[in-house]
Symmetry: D2
Amino acid sequence: MSFTDKSDLRLPPLGRRLRLGFVGGGRGGLVGAWHFSGARLSNHWEVVAGALSTRPENAAASARDWCIAADRSYSDYRLMAATEAARPDGIEAVSICTPNNSHADIAAAFLRAGIDVILDKPMTSVTADARMLVEVQRATGVSLTMTYPFSHHAMVRQARALIARGEIGRIRQVHVEYLQDWNFAAQEAGNIGWRQDPSVVGRSSIVGDIGTHAYHLLHTMTGLDVAEVRADMFVCGGAKPQPDTAHIGLRLTNGAPGLLHLSNATIGQYCGLRIRIWGDRGALEWDQETPERLRLIPLEQEERIFLRGARQGVLPEAEHLIHLPRGHGETLTDAWANLYAEAGVLVASRRSGTDLGLAPLVLSGAADGLRGMTFIDACADSWEAGGRWTALAG
Amino acid sequence: MSFTDKSDLRLPPLGRRLRLGFVGGGRGGLVGAWHFSGARLSNHWEVVAGALSTRPENAAASARDWCIAADRSYSDYRLMAATEAARPDGIEAVSICTPNNSHADIAAAFLRAGIDVILDKPMTSVTADARMLVEVQRATGVSLTMTYPFSHHAMVRQARALIARGEIGRIRQVHVEYLQDWNFAAQEAGNIGWRQDPSVVGRSSIVGDIGTHAYHLLHTMTGLDVAEVRADMFVCGGAKPQPDTAHIGLRLTNGAPGLLHLSNATIGQYCGLRIRIWGDRGALEWDQETPERLRLIPLEQEERIFLRGARQGVLPEAEHLIHLPRGHGETLTDAWANLYAEAGVLVASRRSGTDLGLAPLVLSGAADGLRGMTFIDACADSWEAGGRWTALAG
Amino acid sequence: MSFTDKSDLRLPPLGRRLRLGFVGGGRGGLVGAWHFSGARLSNHWEVVAGALSTRPENAAASARDWCIAADRSYSDYRLMAATEAARPDGIEAVSICTPNNSHADIAAAFLRAGIDVILDKPMTSVTADARMLVEVQRATGVSLTMTYPFSHHAMVRQARALIARGEIGRIRQVHVEYLQDWNFAAQEAGNIGWRQDPSVVGRSSIVGDIGTHAYHLLHTMTGLDVAEVRADMFVCGGAKPQPDTAHIGLRLTNGAPGLLHLSNATIGQYCGLRIRIWGDRGALEWDQETPERLRLIPLEQEERIFLRGARQGVLPEAEHLIHLPRGHGETLTDAWANLYAEAGVLVASRRSGTDLGLAPLVLSGAADGLRGMTFIDACADSWEAGGRWTALAG
Amino acid sequence: MSFTDKSDLRLPPLGRRLRLGFVGGGRGGLVGAWHFSGARLSNHWEVVAGALSTRPENAAASARDWCIAADRSYSDYRLMAATEAARPDGIEAVSICTPNNSHADIAAAFLRAGIDVILDKPMTSVTADARMLVEVQRATGVSLTMTYPFSHHAMVRQARALIARGEIGRIRQVHVEYLQDWNFAAQEAGNIGWRQDPSVVGRSSIVGDIGTHAYHLLHTMTGLDVAEVRADMFVCGGAKPQPDTAHIGLRLTNGAPGLLHLSNATIGQYCGLRIRIWGDRGALEWDQETPERLRLIPLEQEERIFLRGARQGVLPEAEHLIHLPRGHGETLTDAWANLYAEAGVLVASRRSGTDLGLAPLVLSGAADGLRGMTFIDACADSWEAGGRWTALAG
């Protein structure tokens, strides 16, 4: 057996790495390091430019950390977009890892400069901005990819493919939870992190921050969307301006009910994104903290465990995301690399005018980003109405 | 170390076993076998009489299975109560394992005959009957014990004691789920099991059947009660007359929110009663399917695992329920035995007029049974009102 | 589904419970409590007589604990055997839970009195005594059952049945470990527990105490015996007169190699009896601490988990040992009850002259007890010879 | 908390990436892909040259996969060493991922060319070659790093630091196993993979291939070496020229015994490298397949779980290897990246003549490589002598 004989997603289709820039992601941030690791590990990108911080010293220091040449380190994203678009060796895409309320302007600037965009979730802080971005993307024809890394785990795709094949039958109920503990402490006045500031993050910190991941995972696995929500929200940790916890009832588009449980103030929970999907012929269970195992329980049969990298049982839709044999761990860093590899194929295809893709590319675009904002709005509307069942806007 | 040197709950305080009878529990049932196993294993009881079925042949055959003498096998509980009360060697207590709507009359008959009652949950099928039973119990002064076996696991008591000592601080959120799969199939007209028949089980099959266990566990561990509920209910498995699934929002008496998830139509879930309690100084997690382990996560410290039977760390409130060293499994059968041992101490104390008890007896009486009915009512009321927040009746 | 509709091993075949006595097992001991619990829970026995200790006060106090009438509490087993054999309501069997070096005399006395024997392992302290017991058993025709409780777990029988059906093919390698921690501390001169005293336990404390369990489990599951051993032994915990640890190479009768790892001085190990069996078509793994799950990995297929009490996949050879549905735990206490139920069927059959048995009774008799002694001898011989490969005596 | 505020091992100390070449690792191989991934993810290296295969077409195609310029793709390592050494922008280090028997000549050529060497294990196929390499390394003063990736998991370093601090006291026993299944099938004559060919891999395929990893892990964690071994070896899978299984008794330098179990023919085992270390004050357990958790059981206390990325409890010796918060998985890919980051610091320090290192760099050099060969020899000698206890050569 050789793992490199197969068609490998991590081989750059153009025979060279694409040139990537970053806005945000410098020292003091967290998400940027994931994007950067994924880009490096993917083998599809080299990071050659950045406006890594709005503070010039931090931008310069961060650029040195990332081995970006000094003359391609910017402290203003507009200058970066203009300058890079004009260079013959300018960046071909940009990754945006800034606070939510800056996403729309930054992404629009790069789209208009003809530079493909990779954008951290949620799409924007207010839905009107997301609608604007959808328009700009459509008008420019440049690609916009939203980053939902959990959907790039091989076993998530395995679940998606099993459900599409009907292995668990018609879906009858779902339970999704995303529980963390980092936001337990109180946020004191005058020292509120931007993730708690409504003017930065939008209407719901907890739904925007982690609920959108859970919503996207549910959609990716099942192929179903959410039709209606009923949301209660709470501050369970220390005092802070926005809820840190949400209990959300779901009605899926096929009529099945669901529960979504979100909190980042639950001690002892780390990155607890877990999904259980019950159909009328079987059930599937997946846990982001043990992402290489997928539990299938067919109705009235023994449990079966699918294992990333096993010789048998892994479906083609998942296989191309796998790089190491079973037992040799691949986790979130690898999922980020898969995301950046799939995005690389997309960008290289668009720029070369050729379909360089592997068939089962699964990426989220501008419409998905807007849909995520619609979900946030519906949850916020429901909560403000005392937990009334609220339909997602069309 | 010797495990029998300690004060052992399984040593009958009267130096003899108490005489026990059963109503219900014969062939074709399920719950009766648990009660009977718990009684035998407890070492406090010998089962000497029974009206194990309303069908005479079944009653007689079941009595032979249980080694009950033919002259003490009855097919009518009233005859049994009268006859046994008159015998010098008559039963000292009766266990009632019949369908819900018969509980009130049977229990009242034995209470009035001066025979202590051990009653399976839920207390009755309608709350008025429960109120009547509370009155009868109070008037007769005979004991009535409700059977919630999960609260007799040693590690449940360990959690209760840790919380009482403040180890996790003030409780800020709870999640409880009880998921099973036995009721997945459709219940066809004319062939509906009694557990689905509203005239037998009362207003809510799913809340009455397993929700009361979850509610009781939450109360036992935290010492808090539920103030308000918001319930949505669904048929997720095959068609049947009552919901097989409930999603219930909770507001605890200290103001903390909670989620309660109930279903017996979730494939791949067996006896999935799990509780997570988040406080402001730590969290506790317990799973009925691995009942000997209790996970404590103190705020900003490493996880600690308490293990039933370990030499250190087990608190006195749990210690007396432990009979085997760590690693030598004790599970649900042992929890039933603990329940019957604690009930034995209670009955022996009442009958002897002496406090024979070990200090930390934790048993549920008539008031707890009524409270469980109140919880069922509040959930049913909320559901019928479209998921309105509904307070439990005082 | 009803769990009591099936043929149930826990229904006494004679329609009454058999009368059982105990030698040993009183206050201060550990193993006796297991035997006693198993007997009660099995529903096949009532314990009516005992010589529970050689110290008269302890014998009397222990008899009260066990609800044995004062006139049937003995402090001398010879008197007990004679008296009980003469009573019309005398015991039909005796359980012997005394230190190893007393087993032979006690068991022989009861066999000669026509009372069936249930004997804790190892059979004796010296092999010559075991050979004598085999002869006495043969001459008297009374039954002798050795107690290896782990072989009465349902999933052990499931593994045995799967292997017998060829599900994992020809066995190519085995790994068995039995690790505990209770014997970590030093045993000071003048205060050596009897389990460390060679004059009481025989040639090898660690092999006799837990190695015989592991050896028996291996044999029960695979149907293969051990042909040769190579043993190294060590004191890894505090100083004591006998090794607390053994590393034993195995050669099975089919030529396959194996490893057996024994220690009761390994901190953090509790009752860690674990077995992995690798065949040429698949593998099986079982862990006594999670006894309700059996992992089967067929060659080049997904893992499958068999679950005690599941509706599908459990074979008839295991089914009759199961009393509760999946998820409702059955562990070591239940295995002891299964052992006593199977022994009850055996004794009732012999005494009634009728085969009352369920087909797949799996019990160990005198020959198995002797074989266990032979295994201990081979390990001790090998160790004394510096780890030479040593064949088991024929 | 920000994970990028801390001193981060993945920031290149020279402010630029070092230039790296590869010998071996092209299409059809497995190990090369790991090295290459680790180098990319580490952020310390860019791969700019390679002799990725001895077959020219494969070398060229593989170079395109890796985005190596055509003029720096070689099919002869000698030409590569000479050419690169002469270029002003030549490689600063080379990674060697070829079959064992070619390691010595290749590594020596690069060392003599002044190019630092990163060498896959085992060091060579015969020990004399390893001694030669040690001499060449010493004479040239160029660095040689052996790649044992498992020792670069953060929780392995945590274990090492806990043991060094005395947390589990004096080590009294160890158990290490490394079990896989990839080599189960028979190797037919004329089609034997090079990993089974003694002329390529040396005296012991199973010890050289995975036993050296286990030996190195044991040494890294405990600080102890192996003094003596007793090895039995077996073919447990299909017929093949060398054993696929070894059972090895160990005597550590402090006198403690150990067991090492190796097989790559155990169905259902994937990358099952597991270690348990028992001291006189506690025990540690770690499993490569769940590498982010480390189980500590202090004597007579509750179990404690250390978690990679937790806010508390992680020691400085492990902290700098951690890049993501707890729950956000880091596994084998990240361990390889840590290895390449530490090697990058070493090479940059040597080349700049400055100590750029973070204090707790833990890398294996030429002497460690030779020690690994000595271990293989002792195991092979012991096995050939029928399992005689055999001391490792000094």
